[in-house]
């Protein structure tokens, strides 16, 4: 059986000047949480939007293969894609206030999703919405269905977004920084909820984050992105125990870990900033910030396998 989501050699350009995604490959298996991690501008959100075919006008998407449950997405019509989106493939975004419509009640937005994709009555759709609100830990779901988004706290709105994404029993859930706008205590609650739903419903999840703490706690597999490329991909435990790419190693050193840091001892850091890359760029995009770079890094970089499920993009040997 083919994987749930296959992305092979995805390229996204904006106006022919900026290459946002450069040959990124990501596979999400059924029932697996795959984290895309990287810093701002590395192309992780663009990758997700490209999968959903939600890129802004002027963006060009191409891929060697882009398939959902074995079905090719690149050749799919707009209506074909609209049939999948919100249905078998659902997405939640960072800022629930901007992704919920402020002019409609929670209930009408939730039931619309179901009525659009499935043959059902308003009554049955409302029941399902109430069930799902309860499922995501919202007390008094009946009350919440009649409320508007501005009447809810940030954590509640994100729960509503999650419940709405689940309305049509998706097989794939793409979550783009779902907890970045939330307080730490609420973040932990929402992540716990997402991890539980993923496990109980057997969802495939593509979770996008910049936070390595989140990756460590919820991902089965991790792909590290840098300047539009996946520079390293491995099962989570292996990536943290045995990071290979100098960028991955640098990122792990930057994270302050409570109880393991000494005051006034400098944190590890990566000098410089992420470069902006145009078409025709060759070699390793990290070379200007890398301690191990030499002249060969300006040429095409081989992808090495560190183990069966672990590969990285660097001239250094495994």
């Amino acid at each position: 059986m083919s994987a749930l989501l296959e992305v092979d050699q995805l390229e996204v350009n904006f106006g022919g000047r900026v290459s946002a995604v450069r040959g990124a490959s990501v596979t999400v298996e059924r029932g697996e949480t795959h984290c895309l991690v990287g810093e701002s501008g590395c192309g992780k959100s663009v990758t997700a939007l490209a999968v959903m075919n939600l890129l802004a006008r002027g963006a060009r998407r191409s891929a060697k293969r882009l398939a959902f449950e074995g079905q090719d997405l690149t050749g799919l019509s707009d209506s074909g894609m609209a049939h999948l989106r919100g249905n078998a493939m659902a997405m939640i975004f960072q800022e629930p206030m901007t992704s919920l419509n402020p002019a409609y009640t929670v209930g009408s937005q939730m039931t619309e999703v179901l009525r659009r994709h499935k043959k059902t009555t308003q009554r049955a759709a409302t029941d399902r919405a109430a069930d799902l609100l309860a499922r995501v830990g919202i007390t008094a779901p009946g009350l919440r269905l009649g409320q508007f988004p501005h009447q809810l706290s940030g954590g509640l709105r994100q729960r509503v977004m999650i419940a709405m994404a689940l309305m049509c029993d998706p097989k794939l859930l793409i979550a783009d920084e779902p907890t970045t706008a939330l307080d730490v205590t609420v973040q932990a609650q929402i992540l716990r909820l997402l991890a539980g739903l993923q496990r109980d419903l057997g969802l495939g999840m593509l979770l996008i984050t910049h936070d390595l703490g989140i990756v460590a706690r919820v991902a089965h597999r991790v792909s590290v992105m840098y300047a539009g490329e996946v520079v390293e991909s491995a099962p989570t435990a292996e990536l943290f125990a045995n990071p290979k790419h100098p960028y991955t190693r640098g990122l792990l050193r930057c994270v302050p870990v409570p109880g393991k840091i000494k005051r006034d001892e400098p944190l590890g850091s990566i000098p410089g900033t992420v470069p902006r890359i145009g078409p025709g760029f060759e070699g390793c995009a990290f070379r200007d910030r890398c301690d191990f770079a030499d002249v060969t890094c300006a040429h095409a970089i081989p992808r090495h396998a560190a183990s069966v499920a672990h590969d990285f993009l660097c001239r250094l040997p495994a």
């Binding site: 810093e39 701002s40 830990g137 919202i138 007390t139 706290s153 954590g155 509640l156 307080d183 730490v184 205590t185 609420v186 973040q187 932990a188 609650q189 992540l191 716990r192 991890a195 910049h210 936070d211 390595l212 703490g213 989140i214 990756v215 460590a216 706690r217 919820v218 989570t236 435990a237 943290f240 125990a241 640098g250 990122l251 792990l252 050193r253 930057c254 994270v255 302050p256 870990v257 409570p258 109880g259 840091i261 005051r263 006034d264 400098p266 944190l267 590890g268 850091s269 990566i270 000098p271 900033t273 992420v274």
Partner: protein, 315 residues
């Protein structure tokens, strides 16, 4: 003089219009807080959004007058001070370097502004001190000629730090200085702030929602909840032996990059704190996992601890 910042029984409320027919409401942002920071110390203030930590920062900077109580920096009352004198003593670094820098001014001019505003510093002296300061925060002279929009987030935060330090203040109030930055850049800026504090003998009030960051920079930590410090302790004590259930929940919420541990259950429920409607008794009791009936009636007194204290009936 043995305190850099001294805050005595400070309270700040805001009136919020109730709308067409509603009554006005009073939001209590800072509720009777007292503390002192010694010279060279770093007090980390942690708490969730809406807990009043940014209001506290603005009070100490003299940008807001307190509703009640007194604030002194280096022994002088903040609200009595002349703006120029205050600027020479205490300076802010804010969260968002995209919003806090004038997009139409060159970096050099942004950093020179506090010196020019003093009105009595010669042009040649200003140029010299701007050059020194840019170099000190790791920006090249060429960067000085650019506009903020041509800089990355980390570079902009360096500009904000240069502007804060160019008058050689004694105290810097950092309000979420790295929250808008990527993790690799956050580390650069934290290292820079630590280095500057050591070299220039600065005192910091360091506000953050990120406990790991606070642990790295602070000598003592205050945990703020609905306008009060519910626990205050030397950094190591707070992280090793937290007492207040809210402190414990905050610490439990930190997701360290350790695979296999899963996501912790912090057990705080969904009722978020509302500063316009502070609960009676212990203000944390509606979310507290160990609350008892008396917690909703009795106000917890401050129980002193070595170099700090905790406000909970149950510890």
């Amino acid at each position: 003089m043995n305190t850099a910042i001294e805050v005595k029984a400070v309270r700040r409320t805001f009136r919020v219009k109730g709308g067409l027919f509603g009554a006005d409401r009073h939001v209590v942002a800072v509720d009777d807080i007292s503390f002192a920071v010694p010279p060279g110390g770093v007090l980390g203030v942690v708490g969730e959004s809406g807990c009043g930590k940014s209001t506290l920062a603005r009070l100490i900077l003299g940008l807001l007058p307190p509703t009640a109580g007194d604030i002194a920096v280096e022994g002088q009352r903040v609200i009595d001070m002349d703006r120029r004198a205050r600027a020479r003593l205490i300076q802010p670094v804010f969260q968002d370097p995209f919003a806090s820098l004038n997009p139409l001014a060159r970096v050099r001019d942004i950093v020179a502004m506090p010196l020019k505003a003093q009105g009595n510093i010669a042009g040649s002296e200003i140029a010299k001190r701007v050059d020194e300061m840019l170099a000190r925060v790791g920006l090249s002279a060429e960067m000085g000629r650019r506009l903020p929009t041509e800089l990355s987030g980390g570079q902009r935060q360096r500009v904000a730090i240069a502007r804060a330090l160019v008058l050689r203040p004694r105290i810097v109030v950092c309000d979420e200085p790295t929250s808008a930055l990527d993790v690799s850049v956050q580390a650069q800026i934290l290292n820079l702030l630590a280095e500057l504090r050591r070299d220039l003998g600065l005192t910091y009030l360091f506000i953050s929602h990120n406990l790991a960051v606070v642990e790295h920079v602070a000598s003592e930590v205050a945990v703020m909840y609905l306008g009060r410090f519910v626990e205050r302790a030397p950094t190591e004590t707070l992280f090793r032996r937290p007492e207040h259930p809210y402190t414990k929940a905050l610490l439990a919420s930190v997701l360290t990059p350790e695979p296999g541990l899963g996501v912790p259950d912090v057990g705080l429920g969904d009722t978020l704190p509302d500063p316009a409607n502070i609960p009676p008794g212990c203000r944390f009791h509606p979310r507290c996992p160990i609350a008892e009936p008396r917690c909703s009636i009795e106000t917890p007194p401050l129980k002193p601890r070595p170099a700090g204290g905790v406000e909970c009936l149950l510890v």
